[in-house]
């Protein structure tokens, strides 16, 4: 008996394992495209036609930012609810069903993306942001819809577990990991409404030829309604790992359960009404709306700073439990040889750097300096590409034994892997940031122009390119080591000397957290009200100016036009009604 996850929850462990393996497959293919485009852009090795660059970039973006991250996190969330509620899922067939739907969606989306490499008519080289005017094959959008519906059902699964648990434990606080899953899921439900609307009302009908045109600004705005909060969908599971696993691995306890709850509540209410900060340069949205988005964004720094504080405090507590002393000397007592710890700690550190470049992106005026440049790519390879991806890879070294019942193939290779990612990303991301400051654009196959040279402040553009290629090569090597470990572990035989399936205790526990924090209805209602404040006027004015389907609305067949108008009126009145209900709930709950 070792008390691993697979022993306590054998059926669930299989689903979690399948989700992890799916995410690793996406990571492998996406990573391969990463190095291809790095070598192409920097001019070191160009074996494909530059016209295919967007196909590669689409596959890289979709497979890594959507498929890899989300498959991994549904695995983590399923682990978190079952472990912290200490109960199996309500119906394992339902769990397999949403997993299957996500797989089906991924396959359907991948077909047109990869068809872009062939001579066939089908393609979807629309990048992972897929807003108009880029248009993809209908299958691409259809697959995305199935994938998202799969994640919605996954959320239903986690909520079902919690509801069933609550019946049996009416007076208990929601266990922290489950609390994190539920708040993140609620945020995801609100966020995905934007992308669902963009696809179902506009992009899919447009790609099917049912409507002639769309209003590009509207589809962009709906995309970013979803596109900002999706980053928190990636980040929340990483935060969860920092809160519930990292303290344990450091040898201590989580500093504060109430603070962790506050952080997740803040993300629930502030994640969505900020999306317009990706559109500071879009004409057609008034500066005032952009200013509101900027203000909300700056408030979002608060939960991240709270996280930094809590996580470091928990690590220090752990180090002191292990005999660490001194003002900074305790750092030496941390388990740096443990790849799970070292990987998460390095990921957290790079996230701090990402916070600085993020603040530059978030400032309305200074954003103009870096908008759409390579700087932005440098920034998000620190956030999703490291804070999230490196945390996921590091915790994989803890999760693999839990869901396979087999010992990790090699801890030393694992340690080398996480350190190599850190060093590789340092080189690549630093040069991308600096290149962006010179005005080098992102999403460009050959960023060099006739009769014009980018001028580097320090060194030369050639050196920056070399640094990017070097970093990319180290990252690719790191990925190879990662997969060696995953495969090596899968080939190991079962072991009965594995760590138990446990997460961190707390120094200040849930009883110190005000009850209102667990009132999910209240926070959801506030989140909806904030979204309505931030979005209803911008959306209305975008539609007023550019039309629902672009200025050519009159060309629509009358029946479709009338139908859509009806749909629009209904939507507006539903949203207004929802807002009023939400306000009533808030008034009711808080009085």
């Amino acid at each position: 008996m070792t008390n691993t996850y697979i022993e306590s929850f054998p059926a669930e462990a299989k689903v979690v394992r399948a989700a992890f393996y799916s995410s690793f497959l996406a990571l492998a293919i996406g990573g391969l495209f990463g190095i291809i485009q790095t070598l192409h852009r920097t001019g070191y090795y160009r074996f494909m036609d530059s016209a295919d660059y967007y196909t590669v970039l689409t596959a890289h973006g979709v497979l890594l930012a959507i498929t890899f991250t989300i498959f991994f996190l549904v695995g983590v969330f399923t682990w978190a609810t079952t472990t912290s509620l200490d109960r199996p899922v309500e119906d394992i067939r339902f769990t397999w069903a949403w997993y299957g739907l996500m797989v089906l969606g991924t396959v359907l989306t991948a077909i047109p993306i990869f068809a872009g490499f062939t001579d066939s008519e089908m393609s979807a080289s629309v990048l992972f942001t897929f807003y108009a005017p880029l248009q993809g094959h209908p299958l691409f959008y259809f697959g995305l819809v199935l994938f998202v519906v799969g994640t919605w059902l996954a959320g239903v699964d986690w909520f079902r577990s919690w509801w069933a648990w609550k019946q049996e434990h009416p007076d208990e606080r929601i266990p922290l990991p489950t609390f994190m899953v539920l708040t993140t899921t609620l945020m995801w439900y609100i966020a995905t409404l934007g992308v669902a609307a963009a696809i179902l009302l506009f992009l899919l009908p447009w790609s099917l030829g049912l409507v002639e045109s769309v209003n590009p600004l509207l589809t962009r705005t709906l995309f970013w309604f979803f596109g900002h909060p999706v980053v928190y969908f990636w980040l929340m599971p990483a935060y969860m790992m920092w809160y519930v696993l990292l303290p344990k691995i450091s040898g201590g306890k989580l500093f504060s359960d109430p603070l962790a709850r506050v952080v997740f509540v803040l993300f629930l209410i502030l994640s969505v009404p900020t999306g317009i900060h990706h559109q500071y340069l879009d004409p057609g949205i008034a500066e005032g709306f952009k200013f509101i988005a900027m203000t909300n964004t700056m408030f979002l720094l608060l939960p991240s700073l709270l996280t930094a504080f809590t996580v470091v405090a928990s690590m220090e507590h752990g180090a002191r439990q292990r005999g660490g002393t001194g003002y900074l000397g305790w750092l030496k007592a941390l388990p740096w040889r443990d790849p799970v710890f070292a990987g998460m700690a390095l990921a957290g550190l790079m996230f701090a750097a990402a916070g600085f470049s993020g603040m530059i992106n978030a400032g309305m005026n200074i954003n103009y300096l870096v908008h759409n440049t390579f700087w932005v790519v440098g920034h998000f390879h620190l956030t999703v590409g490291t804070a999230v991806a490196l945390t996921f890879m590091a915790v994989t070294y803890w999760f693999l034994p839990q869901v396979t019942g087999k010992a990790l193939w090699s801890r030393s290779v694992a340690l080398g892997q996480v350190v190599l990612w850190f060093v590789g990303m340092t080189f690549m991301s630093n040069a991308m940031h600096r290149g962006g400051l010179l005005g080098i654009p992102r999403r460009t196959a050959e960023p060099q122009y006739e009769g014009f040279e980018f001028e580097a402040a320090v060194g030369s553009v050639g050196e920056l390119d070399a640094q990017i290629a070097l970093g990319g090569a180290l990252l690719t090597l790191s990925l190879v080591l990662f997969f060696a470990n995953v495969v090596g572990t899968a080939l190991n035989s079962r072991s009965d000397d594995l760590p138990a399936n446990e997460y961190a205790d707390t120094l200040s526990g849930p009883s110190d957290a005000p009850l209102v924090l667990d009132n999910l209805k209240l926070w959801t209602a506030i989140a909806i009200v904030l979204v309505i404040f931030a979005y209803s006027f911008p959306l209305l004015s975008i539609i007023e100016r550019g039309g629902l389907f672009g200025p050519e609305l009159t060309e629509l067949p009358v029946s479709i036009g009338l139908g859509l108008e009806y749909l629009w009126v209904t939507t507006v009145s539903t949203v207004t009604a929802a807002g009023e209900t939400a306000i009533t709930i808030i008034a009711g709950v808080s009085s």
Binding site: P335, W336, R337, D338, V419, F422, T426, F427, V458, Q467
Partner: protein, 65 residues
Amino acid sequence: MRISKGALLIVIAFIAPLIVELRTVLAWVNVELTLLESAVLGIGLIGVILVWALWPQEGTSESAG
């Protein structure tokens, strides 16, 4: 050893961001390092760290750490 092997590896890894950012910082005070100079500086620093970490501490046995 003064620090554990794991900690040593991490400290060495930290030389990467240090050297990479140092070039930019020094440029502000008009010290322009070439790539080669940066690399030599980085390797030198790693050497110093290795010597410091591996130098036997008085009164502690080799196996400690």
